[in-house]
């Protein structure tokens, strides 16, 4: 069984929701990213989403954009990120890892991405490839990798059907109109839309974008299979990068995990 499916099964057997945590690889540096990946898992993250930095990340708000910029100053690239994941796998072979990034970087490392499953990657989420398109058409083709797609409040029902057909692992439901780190969650709309996805497919649905505090987390996890948190974690990492004491990150993650129990 694939690692994502296995993890989500285990959680649902325990009646638990999944916590997907996002960090940008290489922010503040790759060595610290390794430490932060383990720390996140120890504090309650179930699935790691590793942001691949890009110069022009159009779906990101300022917090994550700036993290991409900081990482690029360290000349982070996909090869180095895969090396990071290999190191992580020396100690943790259970936690699923998803690469999240933009197509232009993935295209430059097609062969590496196609081999990345053997190296410890479980899924890819390419933000700027619409979900009804097939990544195979762009040379990214490995049956072992899960292809995670986004569905947003503006996605039409017809397109949701197509996207669900092309996706494996889980659907990432974008909870608001906006970039990462925005606010204004509309609980009713989110509930309706996730219900619709669930009515046509058995694929798990994670809700993300705009989750800041434990109330948001609790609310969204009540209609989904789990939540994704990015900007808040990235912000706390940045705040504590100077002295590299990340207990605030760890506390935040445990609080969120408690909120969705």
């Amino acid at each position: 069984m694939k690692r994502i499916e296995k993890k989500l099964k285990e959680l649902s057997q325990d009646n638990q929701k999944a916590f997907v945590g996002y960090i940008v690889a290489g922010d503040p540096d790759l060595e610290t990213s390794l430490q932060l990946m383990h720390l996140s898992v120890d504090s309650g993250v179930d699935i790691l989403e590793i942001g691949v930095p890009f110069t022009d990340p159009i779906a990101e708000g300022p917090t994550i954009q700036q993290a991409h910029d900081r990482s690029l100053e360290n000349e982070t690239n996909l090869q180095k990120i895969i090396d990071l994941i290999c190191k992580f796998r020396e100690k943790d072979t259970n936690t699923p890892i998803i690469l999240m990034g933009y197509i232009n970087n993935f295209l430059m490392y097609k062969d590496l991405i196609n081999r990345s499953h053997e190296l410890g990657v479980d899924g890819v989420l390419v933000v700027d490839i619409p979900g009804e398109l097939s990544l195979e058409d762009y040379g990214i083709d490995n049956q072992d990798l899960d292809i995670i797609s986004l569905v947003s409040p503006t996605t039409s029902k017809e397109r949701v059907k197509e996207i669900v057909k092309n996706s494996t692992g889980f659907i990432y439901y974008v909870t608001l109109r906006g970039v990462t780190g925005s606010s204004n969650l509309d609980g009713n709309e989110i509930e309706q839309n996730i219900k619709y996805i669930k009515s046509i497919s058995s694929i798990p649905v994670m809700a993300g974008f705009g989750i800041k505090n434990s109330d948001d987390a609790k609310l969204l996890s009540s209609f989904s299979d789990g939540i994704v948190i990015g900007s808040s974690i990235v912000e706390l990492i940045y705040k504590n990068s100077e002295n590299k004491d990340f207990h605030e990150v760890s506390d935040y993650i445990s609080n969120m995990k408690d909120a969705i129990r």
Binding site: A59, D69, N77, I103, N105, L107, T154, T155, G178
Partner: protein, 398 residues
């Protein structure tokens, strides 16, 4: 004549497409549907052409550049005077068209990115005319070097948002405009400023600018009894070039030449010439030639002209390059300044620094032409906006 590209998915050969975050798909599909219904609608076209005539002042003249022609003493040089349009550049053709789309779609809020500020001014102008709320994104580096246009936009009632991320130029302004659009998707219309971005924009912006090329067909016939031998246009995103090239793509005898910004020189890497020194990649929703490094990160650009200072280019140009239907060359900042002065002194025309790139190619082109040939330069815009920059570059005391 109509071309059948892009295909239904928005591709010109392998270039173009819709590489965008999911939230934008709805808006792009809505726009595509609206445009499909309106583009052959008589009322829509009548309104568009009436605005072009009465508000923009079209047709723009085709003017014989007598002294320039004598200077090179080979082919006749003709100027397609887009600089005489209302607001001073070809950019208004596109904004007049797109604001009509916005009106038909009932959108109340208009956003745009701008580099040189010409597109920002052209957008603020049409928004003012319809009383619509208008927001312009502009890199802080460009705000500085095109400050006159910033003031013009404000006069027109637009709010100018300075963008400090990345290289603080056109590319970053586009990123920010796309982020605004993702956030305000339902009530906002994004008027993109060139033949760039996701499908259907490259097609729509081309079609609205193609009026330039269609006029040129008739004017060439009237002025010298046949079609031009060569058409030259500067290429940033590529909208003025695409507009004048498009009706001529199927006329194989007409040579199409796009001039990119070589900045400090192609060999220095400090330039803005993706068609001359780039590789295919995906930026701002479309696949096209792109200035990028081996990890797929977009490189910084350098050009004396804000409007050409962009690492990407419209996908249709990438296609025209690959099928060898158009030729893309590049000229350096120094060559551009020389041409800028030449056009002022010899023709009494103050070209935009963008436009001066097209003139700067004459030195190389003209020695190989014959006396009985005719070439046309697209004078994409006037240079009033650039006077501050020129004063700074040449260290002139006013």
């Amino acid at each position: 004549m109509k071309d059948n590209l892009p295909d239904k998915d928005g591709f010109f050969g392998e270039y173009g497409g819709k590489f965008v975050p999911e939230t934008l798909m709805y808006a792009l599909n809505e726009l595509e549907q609206t445009y499909k219904t309106l583009k052959d609608n008589n009322d829509f076209n009548a309104e568009f052409h009436r605005d072009l005539a009465e508000f923009v002042g079209r047709p723009s003249p085709l003017y014989f550049a007598k002294r320039l022609t004598e200077n090179y003493n080979t082919a006749s040089i003709w100027l397609k005077r887009e600089d005489l349009n209302h607001t001073g550049a070809h950019k208004i053709n596109n904004t007049v068209g797109q604001i009509l789309l916005a009106k038909y779609m009932g959108k109340k809020r208009i956003i745009a990115e701008t580099g040189a500020g010409q597109h920002g001014v052209a957008t603020a102008t049409v928004a003012a005319r319809l009383g619509l709320d208008c927001h312009i994104y502009m890199g802080s580096e460009d705000v500085r070097r095109q400050s006159l246009n910033v003031y013009r936009m404000k006069l027109l009632g637009a709010e100018v948002h300075e963008v400090n991320s990345g290289s603080a130029t056109l590319k970053d302004a586009l990123n920010e405009a796309l982020r605004d659009w993702v956030t305000n998707i339902e009530d906002t219309y994004y008027i993109i400023g060139s033949v760039t971005g996701p499908h259907p924009y490259p097609m729509i912006v081309r079609d609205f600018n193609a009026v330039v090329g269609y006029e040129l067909i008739d004017q060439s016939q009237e002025s010298f009894g046949r079609m031009p031998d060569s058409i030259i246009a500067c290429v940033g995103g590529g909208s003025n070039a695409m507009g004048i090239f498009y009706p001529f793509i199927k006329m194989d005898n007409v040579e199409l030449i796009g001039v990119e910004a070589a900045g400090k020189g192609i060999e220095t890497g400090e330039h803005a010439a993706p068609l001359n020194d780039g590789t295919p990649g995906v930026l701002h929703g479309a696949k096209s030639y792109l200035m990028q490094d081996e990890s797929g990160q977009v490189k910084g650009t350098a050009s004396i002209s804000a409007g050409l200072d962009y690492p990407g280019v419209g996908p249709e140009h990438s296609w025209l390059k690959d099928i060898k239907r158009a030729k893309y060359v590049a000229v350096s900042d120094d060559e551009v300044m020389k041409a800028f002065h030449m056009v002022n002194k010899m023709e009494g025309i103050l070209p935009a620094l963008e436009t001066a790139h097209a003139f700067a190619y004459l030195d190389e082109l003209m020695p190989n032409m014959n006396k009985d040939q005719h070439i046309v330069i697209n004078v994409s815009g006037r240079g009033d906006k650039d006077l501050n920059s020129v004063v700074e570059i040449e260290d002139i005391k006013l």
